[in-house]
């Protein structure tokens, strides 16, 4: 990675939002191409963060903090982008734990992994009614609805979301969680299944081609 990004890299890895934003402003004011800032520095860095977490060399808080710095840098860089299409989001994803299920850590791990891989995430939380998921997916113009279901009796609510989205060619519904299997996900009519957060990232990359 080019040395001009050293300070920004340090800020992202240490979760220092203030330093990250001020360094980004410094680089951008100095004529740094905002697109290159992402492709040369932030994207490879975040990919590395995600890989380190998948090997548990770092943990969720470090990954979330890195992601928060990048979000702030992203907001800072927006006014410097010449074209809207230069915006770096690889896709929009709604994530939620379905109705009747209060588990959130698994979902939060998947969310953080997707964020550090450059996807734009809207997290609806836990115990989210089907109608809310569907409505928010439309409002957010989501490419993917990622559902978490940790308990057997919460699985039917995944099927409800799939049924609601039937006929919608744009939005793909993917699912993960303890009682879910590839076989169940196929039967339920989802567009994909991830056994864990690492799988989820690979699945999303596969679906969105990015």
């Amino acid at each position: 990675m080019p040395s001009q990004y050293d300070t920004l890299e340090k800020a992202i890895l240490s979760g220092d939002q203030e330093s990250g934003v001020s360094e980004a402003v410094k680089l951008l004011e100095g004529g740094q191409d905002p697109v290159l800032l992402f492709t040369e520095c932030i994207e490879p860095l975040l990919e590395d963060v995600g890989e380190k977490f998948s090997r548990l060399e770092i943990f969720l808080p470090e990954m979330v903090n890195a992601s928060k710095v990048v979000k702030a840098v992203h907001e800072t860089a927006k006014p410097y982008l010449k074209n809207e299409e230069d915006d770096v989001s690889k896709g929009k994803i709604i994530i939620a734990t379905v109705s009747g299920d209060l588990h959130d850590i698994g979902k939060n791990i998947v969310k953080a992994m997707l964020e550090v891989n450059g996807y734009d995430i809207q997290d609806l939380g836990v115990d989210v009614p089907t109608q809310t998921i569907v409505k928010q997916a439309k409002e957010f113009d989501a490419d993917i609805i990622a559902l978490s279901a940790l308990m057997l009796p919460s699985l039917p609510f995944v099927k409800d979301v799939v049924e609601f989205m039937e006929g919608n060619q744009k939005v793909k519904v993917i699912v993960g969680g303890g009682p879910v299997s590839q076989e169940w996900a196929d039967e339920a009519g989802t567009d994909g299944y991830g056994n864990n957060a690492i799988d989820a990232v690979a699945l999303v990359k596969d679906i969105l081609g990015a």
């Binding site: 969720l60 057997l152 009796p153 919460s154």
Partner: protein, 458 residues
């Protein structure tokens, strides 16, 4: 009703405690709070030694956990408030924690008791695989395969895959029907196995308060059974969970909850995990008025608790509890291996020996194939676990470490490949409800190997 004053105090705190955003609680209270106490109390966990041999470290983990819990509290998702108890209040409440309880009825009743590190008394065995899906037709046979084992002291129910052909849906009439069905089938299995008074914990098929509580009353779960519920990781509750607690207390039942911290999550690595497991089990008594406190700390990608990164902090945490309180602690052995694999049996050795010498009161399971594969659990691995409990109670921590390391070396490579093994129907004769020769031979082979390592099964 017992403990009305305490229960009202907890409800009061859930209604009037400090209000905060859930993400701020995760970050400021849990993650930062743990990082602070890990540093302050100098918690540095061995990266390789599985069974803790350092009493001073176990005591520091306890101190760190009490300090952390008093600052962090438990988050109520319904009211967005933090239920907090001061350090002094936590210590005062723990003084009155029960150290023994009798569960079950008649000649099937058993006593659970708080144990010390290297205690020579055998912990209890709760046989079966809680929460694992099972088809209705195999429910009774698989439960008999556990209950008929003399090594099994108490039991618990798996989860029905569907109810009369319908998907079970939480907070629906189908969840209530399935809760009743689970209890009816469990009681039937106990009658058929000749142990009708055995205690069991429930209700596993139901996650909502209405589903669970419907079958917790006359004709359903008995007062002498154990009444379980899980809190939300990390250190969170809701009125739905407190409703379950309130109902159990109204029934004067045995409160048997669990907390399953996620490794690599908000608690970070092994140092924070050791403190978090300890704090969560303390919270189960202080905030959830538990009679017995349970855990099955979970790997974020493999979903087991038999990897070193979980065995090490669990051993330390159980020792911290055993040395500094009279809490009755229990561990669910969640394995990656399934029936018909040696992996599962080696995981049983590591987990059971570790928990026994570390002062746990009861082991649950094992829960093979991470508890997620339909029908992948049998009574034979529970028989082995029971025998291991007796053998491990004769060991000191040094010898236990030597044995656990040998067992671990046998399955370490399988943790990511996860050999889920076979369905109950494929490793048991359904007429006699006895293991097939192949599965029995495998068990005998591993048992002999373990005997050679120094486990005495006499």
């Amino acid at each position: 009703m017992k403990h009305t004053t305490r229960l009202l105090d907890i409800i009061e705190r859930s209604l009037n405690g400090p209000m905060m955003d859930e993400e701020d609680f995760n970050d400021q209270h849990v993650t930062q709070g743990l990082a602070r106490v890990v540093k302050e109390f100098d918690i540095t966990v061995s990266q390789d030694q599985i069974i803790n041999q350092d009493d001073a470290l176990a005591d520091r983990v306890w101190e760190a956990a009490v300090a952390f819990l008093s600052e962090c509290g438990v988050y109520c998702q319904t009211t967005n408030r933090v239920i907090q108890f001061s350090k002094k209040e936590i210590i005062d409440i723990l003084k009155y924690a029960p150290d023994t309880v009798i569960v079950g009825q008649g000649t099937d009743a058993v006593q659970e008791y708080a144990r010390s590190v290297e205690d020579s008394r055998r912990p209890l065995l709760m046989g079966s695989s809680i929460g694992t899906p099972i088809e209705d037709e195999y429910f009774v046979p698989v439960m008999i395969s556990y209950i008929q084992e003399p090594e099994v002291d108490v039991t618990m129910a798996p989860t029905l895959t569907n109810i009369y052909g319908y998907d079970i849906r939480t907070r629906s009439p189908l969840e209530i029907i399935s809760s009743w069905r689970e209890v009816e089938l469990t009681l039937e299995a106990m009658r058929r196995a000749g142990r009708p008074g055995m205690a069991f914990t429930g209700v596993g098929s139901s996650i909502s308060d209405v589903g669970q509580l419907s079958a917790d009353g006359p004709g359903g779960l008995r007062r002498t059974d154990l009444h379980t519920f899980g809190i939300v990781s990390e250190l969170k509750t809701s009125f739905e969970i407190l409703n379950k607690l309130t109902h159990i207390l109204q029934r004067d039942g045995v409160v048997d909850p669990y907390a399953n911290p996620i490794y690599g999550g908000l608690g970070g690595g092994m140092d924070g995990q050791a403190v978090l497991i300890t704090a969560a089990m303390i919270a189960l008594n202080v905030v959830f008025m538990a009679t017995c406190v349970g855990t099955s700390p979970t790997h974020p990608f493999n979903f087991n608790d038999t990897g070193k990164e979980l065995l090490i902090p669990t051993s330390l945490s159980f020792q911290a509890i055993a040395r500094n309180s009279k809490l009755m602690s229990n561990l669910t052995n969640t394995a990656v291996g399934g029936p018909g694999t040696k992996t599962l049996l080696y995981e049983c050795i590591a987990s059971t020996v570790m928990m026994t010498v570390s002062g746990g009161s009861r082991i649950l399971g094992p829960r093979p194939a991470t508890g997620t594969v339909t029908g992948h659990f049998t009574g034979l691995e529970a028989r082995f676990t029971g025998e291991l409990l007796t053998a491990a109670a004769k060991l000191d921590r040094n010898k236990a470490e030597e044995i656990v390391q040998k067992a671990y070396a046998k399955y370490e490579a399988d943790l990511t490949t996860q050999p889920y093994g076979k369905h109950f129907k494929d490793v048991y004769d359904l007429k006699t409800i006895q293991p097939t020769k192949e599965w029995l031979d495998m068990y005998e082979e591993v048992k002999n190997e373990a005997a050679g390592w120094g486990l005495s099964f006499d």
